[in-house]
Symmetry: C2
Subunit: 198 residues, 2 copies
């Protein structure tokens, strides 16, 4: 047997361990520390598994799971970009593209293409699977912020209008979940977890 292919795959598996060292602005729900991107990716995949029935259009759950697993792998090189950081958002696409070039190329060529296409699809939201996965990726941090009584919303003085503006695209992938989330936001404002004005 030629072990080259497997060796390449193992090299990728070992490399992506680094995602466990990339920290996000979001706080864990049950402990006062920031969440890392590997944990977040697991949680997002679980969410896709549990909430699949709420996709606007028919989806292939298996592809959505795969997208959830790899959607933030580029952060190994590019770091996590805070969704409300206007400056960092400017060159985010470029940084993440370079990261995707390096990371997926560790895989054997056929898988490099498969993984890259899946990641591109997620980024561009050009399929029902991608729109649903992206909607969940918007929803999850809002759960974290609500269940930590404001968490990173408060820390960064984010107001409800910015949260709504940033997350309304949830509607394209999962309208029911966006309706539910808007109720959550209204409740967050009422409880003082989320500010109406700066």
């Amino acid at each position: 047997m030629d072990w080259t292919r497997l060796d390449q795959q193992i090299r990728f598996i070992v490399e992506i361990d680094k995602l466990k060292n990339v920290y996000r602005r979001t706080y864990l729900i049950n402990e006062r520390r920031n969440e890392n991107t590997a944990e977040h990716s697991w949680h997002l995949a679980m969410m896709a598994f549990v909430l699949a029935e709420y996709a606007n259009e028919p989806i292939d759950v298996s592809r959505v799971l795969k997208m959830a697993l790899i959607h933030d792998i580029v952060e190994i090189d590019a770091g996590d970009t805070f969704v409300y950081d206007v400056q960092a958002e400017l060159d985010k696409a470029e940084r993440e593209r370079a990261a995707a070039d390096r990371l997926f190329a560790l895989l054997p060529p056929d898988q490099a293409v498969e993984f890259r296409q899946l990641w591109n699809e997620f980024e561009s939201r050009k399929s029902a699977d991608a729109r649903f996965a992206a909607a969940l990726d918007r929803m999850l941090p809002q759960l974290h912020n609500y269940y930590t009584q404001g968490g990173s919303w408060k820390e960064h003085a984010i107001t409800v209008d910015r949260v709504v503006a940033k997350n309304a695209t949830m509607n394209e992938g999962a309208a029911v979940l966006w309706t539910w989330t808007q109720k959550l936001l209204a409740d967050a404002v009422m409880k003082g977890f989320l500010a109406k004005t700066p």
Copy 2:
């Protein structure tokens, strides 16, 4: 719309955030800290995605991914049991069953049944999907230990005969990967990462 079902699903999603606070004996490959079970579950699912071609029998990758995502969720209540801890292994099954009873019951009844069956299937290794998922779950900590120059093998004075005895079941799910892993173990012994005798 009746929101009860979605409320139950969200309660489950919020509850499982606790898996990010369950720490394993394994060390991260790229940083000197113990790994938590949520990160491990993400890594295992990624491994299933990358290495699916090495299953002994035809598998349904989507089911293997789902098993990988939920296989250790019971550790939220039962804690992580070190695979070489003979004493703790004795009542592990009982503790984990009780945890499964509580956690999956948070979901709507149809999903509670689906998730529980999938978890039971993984535990009993009675299907090709489960045998493959279990083989990967055995392989991954060995990668961590090798790439940390002995990591938790050294810390707990584990010898190569115990590693082989514990992980030979990999052969039932992924014979090629077990062959590869045996070469890794031989190399670990040669490099002094893994002891031959206590």
